[in-house]
């Protein structure tokens, strides 16, 4: 019970802080993965730089999708 009270007090600052870090890393993580996959595709099919460009665009959308899901989850839990 004590634990719950503590959590309630901490919630606003803690959630805000973790929220900011999570949004940035979700976007960054998706971009890092897509750049690596894009470079590998270019190496395999010798198609520089089409694979990289396509994967970066896809990766950006994947990052946005991650952020969308994160925000939806937080909104649902409220």
């Amino acid at each position: 019970m004590v634990n719950d009270e503590e959590n309630d007090n901490k919630k606003p600052s803690m959630q805000g802080l973790s929220f900011a870090y999570r949004i940035s890393t979700e976007l960054l993580g998706a971009l890092i993965v897509s750049v690596v996959i894009g470079l590998l595709i270019d190496k395999m099919f010798d198609s520089k730089p089409i694979g990289l460009i396509t994967l970066i665009i896809l990766g950006f959308f994947a990052g946005l999708l991650n952020i969308y899901r994160l925000i939806r989850r937080i909104e649902n839990s409220k």
Binding site: N3, M14, L17, S18, Y21, R22, T25, E26, L28, G29, A30, I32, V33, S34, I37, L55, L58, G59, F61, A62, G63, L65, N66
Partner: protein, 250 residues
């Protein structure tokens, strides 16, 4: 910073015992030392209070000791976290989440001791942890659902002509999980400890007015301890969510 010591020097890995095994450098470093200390401390923290309670058999046994309360607080915290995110089936995965949470939490907290070493500030450590979670969750998904696990990448109720575009996006989004999980922990620790060292440099450089950055450092230390808890919590809750995804698919 009288001698111009870099604020990044604290992250340097120094071998304590040089070990060379089949051409691989597996020296016992300061990073490994602090991991060992963390693990040993967790083992002591969770066995000692319960060992004592068994030995004696008096009325005072009914009242838990302070250490026991602290240990049970951590236990209940992860227990309720799993119950909230995964549900009843989550009980099975309690050891995994609990071990991860405690290891990261005490790793972060021991890093706050002056002259210690924060092993969570190295991406190789956090990435290894995150990859472990990622591989576990993927294997779990395949074991539970077989090939149906691939339907995880298809959003239900979507027109067919959108699938060629959205399946790659879903796959990238799935693969980015370990990266974002590890980068978040590593970047928080690295940035926080570098900031502390930079402001510590200002204290000696400013002479009398060094008291201003000193006050700031005190506040920053409190914030860093909060972040140590927060990042361990975020790592644990995301592990729970990924387990939930693997078990229930959407």
């Amino acid at each position: 910073m009288a001698k111009g010591e870099s604020p990044l020097k604290q992250f340097e890995i120094q071998p304590i015992v040089d070990i060379n095994f089949l051409g691989f450098d597996i020296s016992f470093t300061n990073s490994a030392l602090w991991m060992t200390i963390t693990t040993a401390f967790i083992l002591i923290f969770f066995t000692v209070p319960f060992l004592k309670a068994k030995k004696t058999n008096s009325v005072s046994d009914l009242y838990p000791t302070r250490m026991q309360v602290a240990a049970e607080l951590g236990f209940n915290f992860i227990n309720s976290l799993l119950a909230d995110t995964v549900g009843k089936e989550g009980k099975k995965y309690f050891p995994l989440v609990f071990t991860l949470f405690m290891f990261i939490l005490f790793g972060n907290l021991f890093g706050m001791i002056p002259y210690s070493f924060t092993f969570t500030s190295h991406i190789i450590v956090t990435l290894a942890l995150a990859m472990g979670v990622f591989i576990f969750v993927t294997v779990l998904g395949f074991v539970k659902h077989g090939l149906k696990f691939f339907s995880f990448f298809v959003i239900p109720g979507l027109p067919v002509y959108m699938l060629p575009l959205l399946i790659p996006i879903e796959i990238i989004s799935y693969l980015s999980r370990p990266i974002s999980l590890s980068v978040r922990l590593f970047a928080n620790m690295l940035a926080g400890h570098t900031l502390l060292k930079v402001f510590a440099g200002f204290v000696s450089a400013l002479g009398f007015f060094g008291i201003l950055p000193l006050v700031f450092i005190i506040a920053l230390t409190g914030l860093e301890i909060l972040i140590a808890f927060l990042q361990a919590y975020v790592f644990a809750i995301l592990t729970c969510l990924y387990i939930n995804d693997a078990l229930h698919l959407h």
